[in-house]
Amino acid sequence: MRTTALNNVPITYTSNEQVEVYRFSIPVTIGVPLLALFLQAFVPLRFPRFGVYVDLPLLVTIFFAMARRSPIAGLLTGAFIGLAQDMLGHNPIGIYGISKTIVGYGASSLGVKLDVENAGARFLVTLGFYLIHSAVYFTVARGMVNMTQTWSWLHGLLAGLANAVIGVFLYFILDRFKQRT
């Protein structure tokens, strides 16, 4: 009797759409992160500031994590994208991997509890996760790898804002590839 009562407690969400869990086709799952990595490696050759302020793989990680609403899927997505990004640089592999794993886990956990479909929420979530990502990267790079890193709040905020603005537009484009389960 008591069990039945517990089961009848309605689960509340901030919006009806949040209960929706999306999935993506395999080409999108593989192709979009690869395209993000490619653009991240190529665009700075023509626009050097792009590499300083924009982190496309991070935006893709946040998007997939929030859309799937599964922490495991989110952290694995973040881990794979982060490790791939590490492989393109010359620093030890794993710094971006750890950072994006945490971001993926956090974004998917947040996606379960919050309405992350509107532009304002996406803007704030992206800004916040960019700062978390930078903080984790800074900690790991300085604490474990002994890299010379300097923390700059100004750079962090500017880059966070740039990523948030780009992220809002990017998420709307990527929304087209969502498939309802």
Binding site: L34, L37, F38, Q40, A41, F42, V43, P44, L45, R46, P48, G51, V52, D55, L56, P71, I72, L75, L76, A79, L83, A84, Q85, M87, L88, G89, H90, N91, P92, I93, G94, I95, Y96, G97, I98, T101, I102, Y105, S109, Y137, V140, A141, M144, V145, N146, M147, T148, Q149, T150, S152, H155
Partner: protein
């Protein structure tokens, strides 16, 4: 137990994934401290680069193709003005080249005397930049040439403007280049004027600084920074950048900021130095004389009348005996001119004979006009009218200069300009034929 695992499943997996990555990172850091090679991570880096680089190559190829079509066929505005400007620049550079060649020759002689060794760039490979790490925390670029093109680790990468970086990782068809603006890079450097040495390093925000210069030294902004060659990667004397700011820094060292001469943020093509040669400069025994000096010597001054042997056979006086022996083509350069006029100290037009002091001797019937004292094809050199003198031949023991390049000879189009230097050989033992004159000892200019 199962309920606990089920409840904290996500967190446990997160911790597990993070633990694995931290473990891998720790292993890399530990091995990186003991060995410089990255063999363990090489394979997965190859996979990542292999997945990305074909797209980058394709895009670069398309971009270059469309760019070439646009620039070579459509957008030709200002080409004539640019061409005129470039021609003027070439003229100026030719003059500069003459001066620099003299300096280089002198430097070679001095280096040879001191038994110095020089490094020469003997072979380079041009490569196109196809990608980057995409992160400001890892300032590396990827080029489209790799192991198959002969590229190896730690080779220097440059552009025409200056130093770019060094090869860090080599893949079969690509290579990763660490820029000098990266924090982990280091280039031995020397300031051009003050000759102070230091180490070029990148900073976290992408700037380049010159470290290890003591704070009691004076460094002025604007001074050029060159490679010192001390790192055994970059040849000595390559431009790195210019000092933009110099001030007191940490500890006992100056904080010197450098602006790189190569535009590191917009690299498109680079050169990889795949072969360097180290050799001792060879000083030539010949004394090099400027062409203008020789010409000045040819101008008649007060002629010194040499002693003439009255018993000498007439064949010893080529001007009198064999006036037609010399060709009339006006060829004056190289060995041929010396062969036709074996006894003259200078290489002059074969159509005229010279006196000891360079004054044209008696004019043969088929000779050129008097105003064409030195017949060099279409460019006559005005000389004084020929003086019919009693001078005879120049002894064989006098130095025979060999003209390496005649400044007055019209050059064919496309020929590379060379400095007008005349190589003058030292005196040689007499090898005159039996009927020739004895050596002249007046040392008159030839």
């Amino acid at each position: 137990m199962e309920s606990v695992l089920g409840r904290y499943r996500n967190l446990i997996i997160l911790v597990g994934v993070l633990f694995l990555q931290v473990l891998g990172l720790a292993m890399q850091v530990k091995r990186g401290a003991s060995t410089t090679e990255e063999k363990d991570t090489r394979l997965i880096r190859i996979w990542a680069v292999g997945a990305i680089s074909p797209f980058e190559r394709g895009l670069v190829w398309i971009q270059n193709g469309t760019g070439n079509i646009w620039h070579n066929y459509f957008y030709l505005r200002g080409v004539r003005a640019e061409n005129r400007q470039l021609k003027e620049q070439i003229e100026q550079m030719r003059l500069e080249q003459v001066r620099l060649t003299e300096d280089a020759t002198q430097a070679h002689r001095l280096q040879s005397l001191l038994a110095f060794k020089e490094q020469y760039i003997s072979k380079t490979v041009a490569a196109q930049v196809i990608g980057s790490s995409g992160s400001d925390l890892s300032r590396v670029i990827y080029i489209d040439k790799g192991e198959k093109s002969g590229i190896k680790r730690d080779m220097a990468v440059i552009t025409a403007e200056g130093v770019v970086g060094k090869v860090l990782l080599v893949y079969p068809n690509e290579a990763q280049v660490l820029l000098i603006s990266d924090q982990s890079s280091g280039v031995g450097a020397i300031l051009e004027k003050s000759r102070l040495q230091g180490v070029i390093r990148g900073t976290a925000n992408g700037e380049i600084v010159l470290e290890k210069v003591m704070s009691d030294e004076q460094v002025q902004p604007g001074e050029s920074v060159l490679t010192s060659g001390g790192d055994r990667i970059f040849p000595k004397g390559m431009p790195i950048g210019t000092v933009t700011k110099a001030g007191p820094g940490k500890d006992l060292f100056l904080n010197i900021k450098i602006k790189p001469t190569a535009n590191l943020s917009r690299l498109e093509e680079v050169l990889v130095l795949i072969e360097k040669q180290e050799r001792q400069p060879v000083a030539e025994d010949n004394v090099r004389v400027r062409a203008s000096d020789i010409l000045a010597q040819r101008l008649p001054s007060v002629p010194i009348k040499p002693a003439v042997d009255p018993n000498a056979p007439p064949s010893a006086v080529p001007g009198a005996a064999k006036p037609a022996a010399a060709p009339t083509t006006g060829t004056t350069t190289g060995v041929s001119a010396q062969k036709t006029l074996p006894t003259t100290g200078t290489t002059v037009a074969p159509t005229q004979k010279t006196s000891v002091s360079g004054v044209p001797a008696t004019k043969p019937p088929n000779a050129a006009s008097p105003q064409q004292g030195i017949n060099r094809g279409t460019t006559p050199v005005p000389l004084r009218p020929p003086v019919t003198s009693t001078t005879t031949t120049t002894p064989l023991t006098t130095p025979k200069p060999k003209i390496l390049e005649d400044p007055l000879t019209p050059k064919p189009e496309g020929a590379q300009p060379e400095p007008p230097i005349i190589e003058q050989k030292p005196a040689t033992p007499p090898t005159a034929p039996p009927n020739s004159q004895p050596p002249n000892e007046d040392n008159s200019p030839q």
